[in-house]
């Protein structure tokens, strides 16, 4: 990494660490910061499979929900400490990822078909969570409020902010590693051309299963964090289409397959949300402002896929790439 890049990252990290203090720890600012970092983290989990490896999923909520339910069931129904349940939830996410990956990739599903089958898996999990007794069905699961760091519950939301920051930084480090490592190079090769990747000695099936397991593990970690912060989950929150779509949007809008894409995407998403919310507050005629934000995201998605296949990060990259190309001409 170049010196400037290192400095920028260090500066960004310090700014993120100081951010809650800058706003005097106001709950609004802290919560907004949490939402951005949390969305960026989930987006990165999608990006690792969908962006870096090109295995685009429409059903990532299946991993999010698995993580949320696994830790919550262990905690609420079996009395586990959430800190102990967390790694189990992560392992469950990895297992579901490996399972779905094995089935789908063994059957040779690619591209749109893979995207659609993940959507169906998430829907199947949602219906199951709605129907089986140990998830308490559509009632959802309530976690007893008992704020104490030992319970992975905090009275001051600032701790959730820092927890999300740690996860987000870890996920960025993982993405950075993917741009430099053998595993990452293999994923990029698979994304670009699977036949050529196979010819060059890459076991594409194994690598794809691995990346989906890794992605699933990360996403499940987010699921547990969500459950512990909001102390309630139900089948639609955990496995709903909206969650899957949000992860995809965050990553696509910021730039799929780039390190900082999900972070930028999450920033854009919540910026738009806040603006439309303000607008909704200012104009009484607008009763519900939330759909406005989603309309904007939908339009951005169409524009990005239509005109900027590398995401908004592509704008910068393209500009930067030009002089290099000329240098060789």
């Amino acid at each position: 990494m170049s010196r400037t890049a290192l400095l920028a990252c260090g500066g960004g990290l310090i700014a993120a660490a100081l951010y809650p203090l800058l706003f005097g720890g106001s709950n609004y600012a802290v919560n907004l910061g949490f939402l951005v970092l949390f969305a960026a983290f989930l987006g990165q989990s999608w990006n690792i499979a969908g962006g870096f490896a090109g295995q685009m999923s429409f059903g990532h909520a299946v991993f999010f929900g698995t993580g949320a339910y696994a830790s919550t069931i262990l905690h609420v129904s079996h009395g586990w400490n959430p800190w102990l349940a967390w790694p189990v939830a992560i392992a469950a996410g990895a297992a579901v990822g490996a399972g779905i990956g094995t089935l789908s990739f063994r059957a040779g599903l690619r591209g749109s078909y893979f995207a659609l089958v993940t959507l169906a898996f998430a829907e199947a999990f949602r219906i199951l969570a709605n129907s089986v007794p140990f998830t308490r069905g559509g009632l959802g699961m309530l976690i007893k409020s008992d704020p104490h760091p030992a319970n992975l519950q905090f009275r001051d939301p600032i701790w959730f902010y820092y927890l999300a920051l740690v996860l987000c930084v870890l996920s960025l480090a993982l993405a950075w590693w993917l741009t430099r490592s053998r595993f990452g190079a293999r994923l990029a090769a698979i994304r670009e051309n699977e036949d050529a990747a196979r010819a060059l000695g890459i076991n594409t099936f194994r690598e794809k299963v691995r990346v989906l397991a890794l992605s699933g593990a990360l996403c499940a970690a987010g699921g547990t964090l969500y459950a512990q912060k909001y102390l309630y989950i139900d089948p639609s929150i955990a496995f709903g289409v909206d969650k899957s779509i949000e992860m995809l949007l965050v990553s696509m809008i910021g730039g799929a397959g780039t390190i900082f894409g999900p972070l930028i995407g999450a920033g854009v998403l919540h910026f738009v949300s806040e603006v439309t919310r303000e607008l909704g507050g200012a104009l009484p005629a607008i009763k519900n402002a939330q759909p406005l934000a989603l309309i904007v995201y939908g339009v951005i998605l169409v524009i990005i896929v239509g005109y900027l296949p590398d995401g908004s990060m592509g704008l910068f990259r393209r500009r930067r790439a030009l002089p290099q190309g000329q240098g060789h001409a």
Partner: protein, 247 residues
Amino acid sequence: MLEVHDLTKRFGGLTAVDGASLEVPQGAIVALIGPNGAGKTTLFATIAGFHKPDGGRVLFRGEDITGLPPDRICARGMVRTFQNTQPFAKLSVLENIMVGAWLRTDDRHACQQRATEIARRVGLSDRLDDMASELTVAGCKRLELARALATEPRLLLLDEVMAGLNPTEIAGIVDVVRAIRAGGVTILLIEHVMQAVMSLAEDVFVLNDGRIIAHGPPAAIASDRGVMEAYLGRGAAERLLGDTAHA
């Protein structure tokens, strides 16, 4: 190095490769020629593990590799290139070659060094940072070659690396192929450019309708009646051979 015995590949009712046998000795450059649609690429793909054969055996360095998947075959030291080049379009030339080089090392520095060295050997040194999608046809052919070489093969299967190139570019690739062989890599190539076959190959197999119809040194193949018939049809072959007999 490579022995193929009675290899057969069928797609539905169509028999693309029909009991083909061939042999590639260590250190040789062997050519596989034949008219369009003869099944050359299918034979290649079946040898390299992209299709499961319906019959026959493939022995590589004395071991039976029939039906192994392509990545395992590549790991054992046999790698193919694609007739329609398949670059990783959005990766740089260096990154493309590194994908091959990662097969033999997990150290980034060593991988990069090896890829740079191979780029130099195939003449891509000045394009390392370009996107693969920016390369010309000739550049793509070189990249295809470089990526395959980076996996450190013992046997290289080259599928029409000269098709679509102009004579200068062909001469350049011929030199590169010679240098690869001099480096100890055995080569089996499919080629339409006969001038290149004649100057490169020691041994030629001719495939027609999925069957090997002739085998021998290039000069003998060039005047073989059966080969001419396969390429030109019976009448034309008669006339051509008749003409040379009178001259």
